[in-house]
Amino acid sequence: MKRTLGYAVIAILFFALIWVWTLEVDSSLNYPEFISGGALFFTIFFLCLFNIRKRVPFLPLWPARKWFLLHTVAGFLALSLFWLHAGIMWPNGLYVQILVFLFYLTTLSGIVGLVMEKVYPNLLTRIGLECIYERIPRDIAEIRNKAETLVFECTEKTGSDTLAQHYLETLGWFFQRPRFFINNIFGGQNAQTWVMQQCSILERFLNASERDYLDKIFALAEIKRKIDFHYSLQTMLKNWLLIHIPLAAAVMTMVVWHIIVIQVFFN
């Protein structure tokens, strides 16, 4: 926390310096946009370096945790510098409108990612189960096999197909693949409610030995529910960068072209 505050103070001082400088340049009837634009380009360039740093973990270029803090602070600094540079929220002209739109999207995706990275780990821990993302399909298949074995066994041993019918009609859907994705990413409890409802609906139609099988299936559904929760949240945690990074690359490309064009026309 102390380190974050330290970086934030540096960023604020940097912004203040640029602001004062632009005011001074403006008062001397020069172009303050070159000052704010230069600072903004430098900041965006620095933001992009984080991704490169991640690909060379063997180089002694500061620990990633420091980079991450700087990246976060620099992200907000870039937004502030952009407003200072543009002077307005939404500019005129198609090219800059596309550029600003992409810039806003990048910033927004960064903020959403940051929030997810702060909130989701805690939610995942509280679920009380850990699983490796790449192994989730295998884990679900294993659970499904166990559930179906129980259903077969129940039919064979009790001579009743009530549980099997219910499994085919409803529960089987749940065990098929990860479910309740949208609800899970908002931390909802729909999966839990659904599983409990489906089991309690069936309960009164079963005798004691069938209920034992239902209890076992319910226990498996609970594990599956937790794995689904992991699947949803880990998918978000892994995939938001697939939006953020291409957007950032597009912004950087457009910024470079923007600078070239400005230089050409200015000269």
Binding site: K54, P57, L59, P60, A64, N122, T125, E130, I132
Partner: protein, 573 residues
């Protein structure tokens, strides 16, 4: 219903040497060192002949073969039957000559080169590297392979050595004390040795006065005085006082030497029952009769709470307990008793310094006001907490430490502790590990969890590295610089001894491949060649452990649980 039956497992179901015959035992019974043992003092169920048959084996070494290496951990001692051996005196042979990996930190350019030199094929090995003249003497039984020295006359010329000849016993202190071998010994001529595993040595020491006297005297002469002198409570003593303390110190062992074998079975055990089964070293409420010093291993420190016992901390090598209680009694306080119960976690060696000796050599010094501020348990007061500090902590505060003790993670000096409340499961740590190991990650980001803490399956570089016991070529060894446990891929013969011994399943056997991704096969039996792999703490990287360096959320740290406070924060990496 069918009942499955099995004859009850016996101690000698798996003899040390499968080739030992009755004839060998008869022959051994005639050699002077064994003949001197009073066989009738041994109980019938653990006869002398039985020990020789099952706890010993005859080993043949060719000239140049290394018998023991400096720094290795071993669980057996050697008696020379025939031939001549040489002990290499300080400064010893270079690591590469002993079959060890030379660690050289990469410079910036070499580190950068990893970006494009990584192989696409997993576990790629250049077979040209495995030079047949690398000094590895293979054997039919992988456990009997040796590293050998190639130019004995040159080694004798350039190193100080001492001769060991027929009848000499060596390696017993390291075997019984679970401490590293202090020197390298190699065969100067073709030699025949009797290798006795620690269980047999223990029986010899227990039932034969001659062997007991020999082993104990050697320990007092060679190791005890130095050990006591290095502790904070006796560092002020001069040589003669230190000798007096050493003469009066009692040497005790608790628990099973092979604790790692029973560790996995213990995993499902009830926590309270598990503590009850641990051998008791000192009991809460009893009278203090001396200072207990841990020489090797770990001991659980617990206090009675309600109907259970709460583990408050643990003692490791160099820690001690009891001085405060004895001091209070010495100062005239009555009804002073031990405030904690101490039990053995696995295997523990305790030095018990009697009260009288402590009173004479320590308290007068304390009274003079010159003590360094530590009286109990903590040889490093600036960094770690004393046992007394743990009495105040709540059950919740001590829970993480208690869990670490229960799971024996306290053995680790570089455990990978992940704060799951911060970890975004991005696997940057795994990718970084792979980038620094030719594309092959050396750990699994998965492991046992407690609350929001996970100890991932990565080598913990244990204080008591049981994985090193039994490695036939010394491929797995502790680095002299840095203390990390590393594997020399060149001398690893894939025998799996280390992987099977690791109680935490942190060593993985991999099938090595050529550049095209094809498995490299043994031409004799067409089976794939396998090698042991594990975390080497990025010993050759300038960044240190890449996993911790690459974690953007500060969720992953390499920790010694001694430095982990109740909140899971570490005293530093």
């Amino acid at each position: 219903m069918t009942i499955t039956t099995q004859s009850r497992p016996q101690r000698w179901d798996q003899p040390f040497g499968s080739d030992m015959t009755d004839g060998d035992v008869e022959r051994l019974l005639t050699i002077p060192e064994i003949q001197a043992i009073e066989a009738k003092k041994f109980p019938s169920r653990i006869s002398l002949a039985g020990i020789l048959r099952n706890d010993a084996r005859i080993m043949q070494y060719k000239a140049g073969d290394i018998v023991i290496r400096e720094g290795d951990y071993g669980n057996s001692a050697f008696l020379i039957l025939n031939g001549s051996l040489r002990v290499v005196l300080a400064p010893g042979l270079p690591g590469e000559m002993l079959g060890r990996r030379k660690i050289q930190k990469k410079n910036f350019w070499q580190a950068l080169k990893q970006l494009w030199t990584q192989k696409i094929s997993p576990e790629f090995r250049d077979v040209q590297r495995y030079n047949p003249e690398s000094g590895l003497r293979e054997a039919k039984d992988p456990g009997s392979a040796h590293v050998f020295l190639q130019d004995i006359p040159a080694i004798l010329d350039s190193n100080k050595t001492a001769i060991l000849e027929g009848g000499a016993l060596f390696g017993e202190l390291a075997a019984l004390g679970r401490t590293p071998r202090t020197s390298t010994i190699f065969a100067e001529t073709d030699s025949e040795l009797l290798e006795i595993r620690w269980q047999g040595l223990r029986e010899f020491r227990k039932y034969d006065q001659g062997w007991r006297r020999l082993i104990d005297e050697r320990y007092r002469q060679n190791a005890l005085k130095a050990h006591l002198g290095a502790t904070s409570i006796f560092e002020h003593l001069d040589d003669s006082d230190l000798q007096e303390v050493a003469d009066h110190t009692l040497f005790e062992t608790y628990g099973t030497f092979d604790w790692h074998l029973s560790y996995k079975k213990m995993q499902g055990q009830d926590r309270v029952e598990g503590v009850k089964d641990e051998p008791e070293i000192a009991r809460q409420g009893s009278y203090p009769d001396g200072v207990l010093m841990v020489r090797a291993g770990f001991a659980r420190v617990s206090v009675q709470r309600g109907n259970g016992s709460q583990t408050i901390t643990y003692l490791g090598a160099g820690d001690f307990y009891g001085a405060d209680e004895i001091y209070k009694t010495w100062k005239g306080e009555t009804d002073v008793s031990l405030k904690v119960t101490i039990t053995a976690l696995g295997y523990v060696e305790i030095l018990r310094v009697p009260t009288k000796t402590i009173e004479k050599h320590l308290f007068a010094y304390w009274e003079s006001g010159r003590q360094g501020g530590t009286r109990d348990g903590n040889p490093n007061p600036g960094k770690r907490r004393r046992i007394q500090d743990f009495f105040e902590q709540t059950l919740a505060e001590g829970a993480l430490q208690e869990w670490a003790v229960q799971e024996r993670f306290v053995n680790g000096t570089q455990a990978m502790l992940i704060n799951l409340d911060r970890c975004v499961r991005c696997d940057d740590c795994v990718r970084a590990c792979a980038s620094t190991h030719d594309g092959n990650p050396r750990f699994v980001r998965h492991g046992k969890t407690f609350q929001n803490w996970m100890v991932a399956n990565a080598c913990m570089h244990c204080a008591d590295p049981v994985c090193m016991i039994g490695c036939p070529t010394g491929a797995i060894h502790r680095s002299m610089s840095g203390g990390m446990v590393i594997i020399n891929d060149d001398t690893c013969i894939g025998c799996e001894t280390c992987a099977n011994s690791c109680p935490y399943s942190n060593i993985r056997m991999v099938s090595i491949r050529d550049e095209g991704g094809q498995h490299i096969l043994d031409p004799q039996n067409h089976k794939p060649i396998i090698k042991a792999t594990k975390c080497d703490l990025c010993a050759d990287q300038i960044t240190g452990p890449a996993c911790a360096f690459a974690c953007p959320h500060d969720a992953l740290n390499r920790v010694d649980f001694r430095d982990v406070t109740w909140g899971g924060e570490t005293g530093g990496q």
